[in-house]
């Protein structure tokens, strides 16, 4: 084991500074505040402050905000209810109830898919664990609310809320259904599409 | 080199299949002789003759018989007349010449091992041969060679035939037994070996038609005379079926140790239409291929073939001329084994499918160069890993062609990649 020497400030700084030094620090700080305030008042500099919520703020598309479930080409939920997101989730906020899909080519799908958003830590592990690109964290960040029951997002909400403008198709289409029946889909569709 | 005629001694005779003809040529003399001997002496006699199984594996016949427990009350003798190996057409020729030869051989063999019942397992496609065989069995019954107390002795024996549906795997010893039992034709796990627990879980000997057909001759003329033919370790003669673009294709009886080159050029008359020799498959589709250079060095016996890393197999010599695409040949071979794999053992079931799959990719020129190495790796891991030898039978020719003709396959793939 090595020893790291750390330079500490001298303990015996002069007594005045030790007693009254904060005043100069405040003055220094206020000086900067005043400078920027004046600049912005005189419109010499653009203000970074937004008049939120009247003024909307846009985040990066890669922002990990509110979850959504992607759709198959026909608008059905992409999720196969494999529970891998629920397994990966450190906050245990994902509840899935799987069921038998009437279409044998899909076989398994989530009857219920719920996220308790109050427990979610937005780590994005669910997104990474998903083998079929069914769950993603979107750029929506406004999640404030007042009614208790809305904190658990249902499958329907995650799949197609107004903000999603009809839902988002998965980038994975080729394995949509069992290839014995459904021939491999064309490559052109093989990209993320936001429906308008 | 002298070419004694043992199995083919009836060739060219008028009405060779009839009992009269057979009797006129010392037919059933061996049976008289054999019934005067003790079964154990008979087994020693066959052991002394050095006769080896003619079906493909070349296992010493006398040794096989000696594995059968003496005291078992119920034993079976089965004749493997399935002849499924591509390129082979010798067993049906025996039935065509003289089915009595087989019947007599079976009676003597059954007496030696103590079997009371025997079946001749034939593929149903041989419908003419089946009719001739049936007639011979009827004649033998009528004249007291079959049935109760044969020729006045205490030995009683019944012979019947069974028609298989023609699956390649039913030519395998235990696959044949499964099929005969009325089950799906799948080889059985060994041990226990059929000599201890075979047909209906009773001791069973399965011999090839040709093996059984030479037994009367050996018994009649003595093992020394048989041993004088052929080589030290591979005595006797064998039927060879030559096919491909030679001038005189067909079945030839040759002493073992006969040079392959000589066989192709002298006996079969060489290649026709001025073709040159590219390669030879010496023992049916499952035998690894020999290049033209190797052909000159080998002789037709078990040891020489083993030294050349191939096998005598059923004696089906397939001649491949220059200009024949090895890609096509390998594709057909692999497809055959893929189609015929019974699907029981995983390496064979999946391996044959995989090889066929890769081979189709190569054939359609949708493959990579390293696919040739992949095929060799697959073949290496299929060999010796399964219950029966079908997996080996697919792996060995694949590896031989992919190794010896790898460049041809690679250039075939490349031509495709360049358009």
């Amino acid at each position: 084991m090595g020893i790291i020497r750390v330079n500490r400030p001298a303990a015996d700084r002069n007594a005045f500074e030790a007693a009254w030094g904060y005043v100069t620090s405040i003055a220094k700080g206020m000086q900067l505040t005043m400078k920027i305030m004046l600049k912005q008042l005189l419109k010499l500099e653009k203000s970074e402050t937004l008049e939120w919520p009247e003024q909307p703020a846009t985040y990066s598309e890669r922002f990990k905000g509110k979850h959504f479930l992607t759709q198959r080409e026909d608008g059905q939920v992409r999720c196969t209810a494999c529970f891998l997101c629920a397994t990966a989730c450190p906050a245990e906020c994902i509840f899935i109830e799987a069921g038998e899909h009437p279409d044998h080519r899909i076989e398994k799908y989530p009857v219920r898919f719920e996220i308790d958003i109050l427990r979610c830590v937005f780590c994005g592990l669910c997104e990474e664990a998903c083998p079929v690109d069914a769950i993603r964290l979107g750029p929506e960040y406004v999640m404030a609310g007042s009614a208790g029951d809305k904190w658990v997002y249902t499958k329907e909400y995650l799949l197609a809320r107004p903000q999603l403008q009809g839902g988002i198709a998965s980038i994975k289409v080729e394995n949509d259904k069992h290839p014995a029946i459904n021939k491999i889909a064309s490559v052109e569709n093989n990209k993320s599409v936001v429906r308008h | 080199m002298e070419k004694p005629k043992i199995v083919t001694r009836f060739a060219g005779l008028a009405d060779s299949r009839s009992l009269d003809t057979y009797l006129r040529h010392d037919g059933y003399q061996a049976l008289h002789k054999a019934l005067a001997m003790k079964p154990a002496e008979l087994i020693e006699l066959v052991k002394a003759s050095g006769l080896r199984g003619r079906g493909g594996a070349g296992f010493p016949t006398g040794l096989k018989w000696s594995f059968v427990p003496k005291d078992a009350p119920e034993k079976y003798l089965l004749c493997n007349n399935d002849e499924g190996e591509p390129g082979t057409f010798k067993d049906r020729y025996i039935l065509e010449l003289s089915p009595h030869m087989l019947v007599e051989g079976m009676i003597i063999s059954a007496y030696a091992i103590g079997a009371q019942k025997a079946y001749i397992y034939t593929r149903c496609e041989f419908y003419e041969e089946i009719a001739w065989m049936e007639q011979a069995i009827h004649e033998a019954y009528r004249h007291g060679y079959l049935g109760a107390n044969i020729l006045g002795s205490k030995f009683s024996f019944d012979l019947d035939h069974y028609g298989g549906a023609g699956a390649y795997i039913c030519g395998e010893e235990t696959g044949l037994i499964s099929s005969l039992e009325g089950k799906k034709g799948q080889p059985k796990l060994k041990p226990p070996f059929p000599a201890l627990s075979g047909y209906l879980n009773k001791p069973t000997v399965v011999n090839n038609t040709e093996t059984l057909a030479v037994i009367p001759w050996i018994v009649q003329h003595g093992p020394e005379k048989y041993r004088a033919i052929g080589t030290e370790k591979s005595p006797g003669t064998k039927l060879f079926c030559i096919s491909g673009p030679v001038k005189r294709p067909g079945v030839y009886e040759l002493p073992l140790g006969y040079p392959l080159q000589k066989f192709i050029e002298d006996d079969a008359g060489g290649l026709r239409d001025g073709k040159t020799l590219k390669a030879v498959i010496p023992g049916g589709a499952s035998a690894p291929v020999l290049t033209a250079d190797e052909v000159a060095k080998v002789t037709l016996d078990y040891e020489s073939m083993a030294n050349a890393k191939t096998m005598l197999g059923s004696g089906a010599v397939i001649v491949i001329p220059e200009g024949q695409s090895m890609v096509e040949l390998l594709k057909v071979t692999v497809d055959f084994f893929h189609h015929e794999s019974c699907g029981q053992c995983t390496p064979c079931r999946e391996g044959t499918g995989w090889l066929s799959n890769v081979m189709h990719g190569i054939y359609q020129r949708k493959a990579k160069l390293k696919d040739v190495e992949k095929m060799i790796a697959i073949a290496n891991n299929m060999e010796g890993r399964t219950i029966c030898a079908l997996s080996d039978a697919c792996a060995m020719p694949t590896r031989a062609i992919a190794t010896k003709f790898g460049d041809e396959i690679r250039s075939y793939i490349q031509r495709g990649n360049h358009g």
Binding site: F83, P131, H178 | K184, G343, T346, G351, R385
Partner: protein, 496 residues
């Protein structure tokens, strides 16, 4: 004792009985040899060719499942060629496997997954399309068959041939087109269907009852004893304690009783553990409202019961006991009520129509009570002479002032339970101690006390052979208001 043979396995000297295979010896020595088609309860098939080992002097690798131990044999499972062979064997198995693990119930306990992590870990070389086969086939009331996931180990076929002797399954076609199936669209109808799910090393057979309910890695398992009949099969109950739910019952290997198997009825006992079928809180019948009144407080109920016991003379009180509780529970129950309180009227509560001596030839017995012998022994212990048989009518006819009843736990063992309960209605006060409850069928009993289910208690039962079967581990009860019999008796002690 049979003759012993010694040989060397991975450098260790191992001694096993003569005739054992290397696989059996390795299993005893806890040497892991990967395998798919071998099962200790079935004949050797030797078809997966996975369990290859190296034998000194042998020309090629041998399969250990069919290799009988010879004295002095030197076997290795650790050589590179063996590991390489295992890797290839796995690659062959996975070649045409669809890899639909996300929707496969076997994921998490799948042989292919486990061995891939253990001996595989290769990059797949398969670049061509896979063979496609039919999926999600209905082959039986408890089974769903996916022929594409199947690796054709033939264990299910052998189970049908050797264990149930129904021969309902076969392998059709050949080569890599082979598929497992039933004959001519027939279905498997026997009582042992879910064993096929257990022995299937992959997800080809999945259980209809468990299908898609839960992923297996969430489940905890506890060893217990099946309460379905007097055989007393060793089982493992799989549940998710944090959800307070149970998901499946699997057999536990026990050569002395059930071998490797468990009947479907035994698996059905699970339904009596989940909250829907359970009495979760104590209840009393409110005649005015014609409804049950449930209460999270059990103490007042026990107090009421204690007051009744104190008020009445012992001869006015009767005990009505079913044979589905543990020996320890009986001991405590009778010790308190018979010995200490002097109650002498003890009646057995059984299914009147039961065919007690029936046996299906494999596991399931006609006596659907797990502890008939234990109950008789407990009665004898406290000096009560009794013959096995239903005495409910006798109890009703005796018109006791108070009946303390231990209800049967598993409803399929007591089909006439509703009628029997209706008979009890004529009595003044019945304190029914029960695990399950059906609001639509049950009326008018004085009080109901909730008991723990079989997976929530430890103890012993005595099976038909007289063997003591141990319920080894317990889940926490589905609700905190659910009581053990000892807790109720302790409560009574306190009150009296």
């Amino acid at each position: 004792m049979s003759k012993q043979v010694s040989f060397t396995l991975d450098g260790q000297e191992v001694t096993v009985p003569q005739g054992w295979t290397v696989m059996q010896a390795a299993r005893q020595e806890k040497v892991a040899i990967p395998h798919f088609c071998w099962h200790p309860g079935l004949k050797v098939a030797g078809v997966c060719r996975f369990c290859l080992v190296h034998v000194e002097g042998a020309r090629k690798l041998e399969i250990s499942c069919n290799l009988v131990v010879q004295p002095g044999m030197v076997v290795s499972t650790l050589r590179d060629e063996v590991k390489q062979a295992h890797k290839w064997a796995l690659e062959f198995h996975l070649l045409n496997h669809p890899l639909d693990c996300p929707i496969c119930d076997q994921a998490g306990e799948c042989g292919l997954q486990d061995y891939y992590m253990e001996v595989g870990l290769y990059q797949s070389q398969m670049t061509r399309p896979k063979v496609l086969k039919p999926k999600a086939l209905d082959v039986g009331s408890e089974l769903v068959l996916d022929t594409e996931r199947c690796i054709l180990c033939s264990k299910c076929v052998r189970f049908e041939d050797e264990v149930t002797k129904t021969g309902a399954l076969g392998i059709f076609a050949r080569g890599d087109r082979s598929i497992i199936g039933t004959y001519h669209g027939q279905k498997i109808t026997h009582q042992y269907q879910e064993n096929l799910v257990d022995i299937c090393p992959v997800g080809a057979f999945t259980s209809r009852r468990f299908r898609f309910k839960q992923r297996v890695w969430f489940l905890k398992e506890k060893s217990s004893i099946c309460p379905g009949c007097s055989t007393g099969c060793a089982i493992k109950v799989h549940g998710k304690p944090e959800m307070r739910r149970y998901f499946r019952v699997k057999p536990e290997e026990d050569q002395s009783v059930n071998g490797h198997w468990l009947c479907d009825k035994g698996r059905m006992t699970l339904e009596h553990l989940n909250p829907e079928a359970r009495l979760m809180q104590a209840a009393r019948w409110q005649a005015a409202q014609q409804a049950w009144e449930f209460s999270p407080q059990t103490a007042p109920f026990i107090r009421e019961l204690a007051q009744e016991i104190a008020r009445l003379a012992p001869q006015d009180i009767a005990l009505l006991v079913s044979a589905q509780y543990t020996n320890e529970e009986y001991a405590e129950f009778f010790d308190y009520f018979v010995k200490q309180r002097g109650i002498t009227q003890v009646y057995q509560w059984r299914e009147p129509s039961e065919a007690r001596d029936d046996f299906d030839g494999l596991l399931l017995r006609g006596d659907h009570n797990a502890n008939t012998r234990g109950l008789m022994a407990a009665l004898k212990q406290v000096g009560i002479k009794a013959k096995i048989g239903d005495q409910l009518e006798k109890c009703v006819a005796a018109k006791p002032q108070l009946v303390i009843a231990l209800s049967p736990e598993i409803s399929f063992t007591a089909p006439s339970l509703p009628e029997q309960l209706a008979q009890l209605n004529s009595l003044a006060r019945v304190s029914l101690w029960t695990t399950h409850f059906s609001a639509s069928q049950w009326t008018q009993l004085w009080q109901l006390l909730p008991l723990r289910g079989f997976a929530e208690k430890i103890g012993t039962v005595t099976n038909y052979q007289g063997k003591t079967r141990v319920l080894k581990e317990a889940f926490p009860p589905v609700a905190s208001e659910v009581l053990a019999i000892s807790q109720i008796i302790a409560g009574l002690h306190k009150e009296l």
